[in-house]
């Protein structure tokens, strides 16, 4: 890793700050400046916190019913998760990013890796412009970390959040090699992208405690002991790009299937064929790893390099009221959402399907993770039965296609914000008073 002033190609990770809370705030400005938590639909646990809620030490994953009395006294506002809203805002942010790069990997609902080209100062200027656009166009605050590799970009991104003076943009190349080493030495090895707590524990006896230790470790030895994935992290920390944009990550926080076509497609029928294959492949991977998805994004794009036609990138997302691994449902949803977007006369050269917000199937089935104590967990099965009884099988409505009913979690109905961008009857209200 060396200080670079003529760097031509960098990787940036663009990450929305407290994404779920930020989405809620766009349509409800009264949440601005308050401690806000977003709760999971099923078990009522905290799954996202605003900065103010973090400052109050509201625990992530805490069951809401157990912390509600104290939280209420502290003025914490709780809202139920609104995956359709988050999915739509996520698709919008991905589309905005596609205006700044031709190489983009939507890594999760609130993070994208993009390629930036230019000198140190140029990439910082581009990142500032992206930040401005995200704030202005869709109201989301983002942080951007820039570095020669994904792993280092992730570290830079941490820095951009921790140091207010950076104003949300950190290019690791801005620092001298000594300073970079100091930064890496301040990061626990378990916090390095792709390492995790379990590997960190095994690394400790080898004297590897920080990101700097891992960077300076013997890559061959790491490879023998831990495998190729961890050895790659060593190289990545040294600034050797081993994880090109779009490569599927080992942790599988999401499943991504995308290809360029040999021949451009122009019709919905062709798109149906493509999506049929892609959704089935993605669903097969999903089942293989025993996960369910809650949110799917599909896109199709024209070539960014064709000179005549303006570059078009249609990106849609579908939220599933219940997590699923049903290939047929994924396919139908993909067609319903993406099909109408296709513009006549355009030549599409690429399409993709991303499954996000994955949950292990087992966990979802039993979901008594928090049921050990005396406190009674929410009656999960009963809730499902109630929904099925009330709305029938069609409760699994397709987000963008339009599920007219409000969700049936009567217990939390008051806390669900409107699906302001995907449902005509739930638009945000503006006062004319």
């Amino acid at each position: 890793m060396s200080r670079s002033t003529t760097s031509e190609r960098s990787i940036a990770i663009v990450d929305a700050n407290n994404f779920y809370v930020s989405c809620e705030r766009v349509f409800d400005p009264s949440l601005e400046g308050k401690p806000v938590v977003v709760l999971s639909n099923n078990d009522g646990c905290v799954i996202a916190r605003s900065q103010e809620a973090k400052a109050l030490n509201v625990d992530m994953a805490a069951p809401w019913h157990s912390i509600a009395p104290i939280a209420a006294m502290q003025g914490v506002v709780a809202v139920s998760s609104n995956y359709e809203l988050y999915g739509d805002m996520s698709a919008r942010s991905a589309e905005i990013l596609s205006r700044y790069t031709s190489d983009q990997e939507v890594y999760s609902i609130d993070e994208s890796f993009i390629e930036l080209t230019g000198t140190l100062d140029e990439t910082i200027a581009q990142a500032r412009e992206i930040r401005r656009a995200m704030r202005k166009l869709i109201g989301l605050p983002v942080s951007i970390g820039i570095a020669p590799t994904k792993t280092l970009a992730k570290l830079a991104n941490r820095g951009s959040k921790q140091n207010a003076a950076l104003a949300g943009v950190c290019n690791l190349g801005s620092y001298t090699p000594d300073r970079q080493t100091a930064i890496l030495a301040s990061v626990d090895v378990g916090d390095v992208w792709g390492i995790g707590r379990r590997t960190a524990k095994k690394l400790a006896p080898l004297g590897v405690h920080t990101a700097a230790d891992l960077r300076d470790a013997d890559a061959a030895r790491i490879r023998t002991r831990f495998g190729v994935v961890q050895a790659r992290v060593v190289h990545e920390l040294r600034g050797v790009d081993c994880l090109p944009i779009e490569q599927v990550q080992p942790e599988r926080e999401q499943i991504y299937h995308s290809r360029s076509f040999a021949v451009p497609i122009t019709t919905v029928t062709e798109l149906e064929e493509v999506l049929s294959v892609y959704t089935q492949r993605a669903a097969a991977r999903l089942r293989k790893q025993g996960s369910l998805t809650r949110l799917m994004r599909c896109f199709t794009a024209t070539s960014p390099f064709s000179d005549s036609a303006a570059h078009t990138n249609h990106s849609v997302s579908v939220a599933f009221p219940e997590p699923t691994d049903d290939a047929a449902l994924l396919y139908r949803s993909a067609i319903a959402a993406l099909g109408p977007q296709l513009e006549a006369g355009k030549r599409y050269v690429r399409a993709g399907v991303t499954l996000m917000e994955l949950t292990p199937r087992d966990e979802h089935a039993s979901l008594d993770v928090f049921g050990d104590g005396d406190a009674t967990p929410p009656a999960y099965g009963a809730v499902i039965d109630r929904i099925a009884g009330k709305f029938g099988e069609d409760t699994l409505g397709l987000g963008v296609a339009g599920l007219r009913h409000r969700r049936g979690w009567s217990m939390k109905r008051d806390m669900v914000s409107p699906r302001a961008t995907t449902h005509w009857d739930e638009l945000a209200t503006v006062k004319a008073r």
């Binding site: 400005p29 005549s308 303006a310 961008t421 004319a432 008073r433």
Partner: protein
Amino acid sequence: MTVVVGPVGGDERPDHLLPQQASEAVHAGFPSPAQGYYNGPVDLNRHLMRDPTATFLVRVSGDSMTGAGIFDGDELVVDRGLDAHDGNVVVAVVNAELTVKRLSYRQGQMVLSPENPAYPEIVLSELDEATIWGVVTRCLHRV
């Protein structure tokens, strides 16, 4: 952005005299066959939204903007990508609420005016916090 295309040089086909929406760059000279002049049926989405990614639909509650033709229950097309100028109808955040008003500047001060004499205008000094959420470009009113 809707681009109205007039006659294109070289070809005298009457099609070219009709204004049409072009979603791609238009070059003078003989048109490429791939460019095509049929863009499909008129598309309200394209007509109403300059930039769909930056466009949000909101519903009006109240009658303070009836003078501008905006009534209770109407839907507004709000473009966050546009810069708000003097005279624009805007959605602004006032007192932590989304509100629709006419924007003007008077002696350097931002003024948000209703268009109904029954309501007072809001003059914002530099100290007051008001942010423009987006510029209203269309009102969808049921007749």
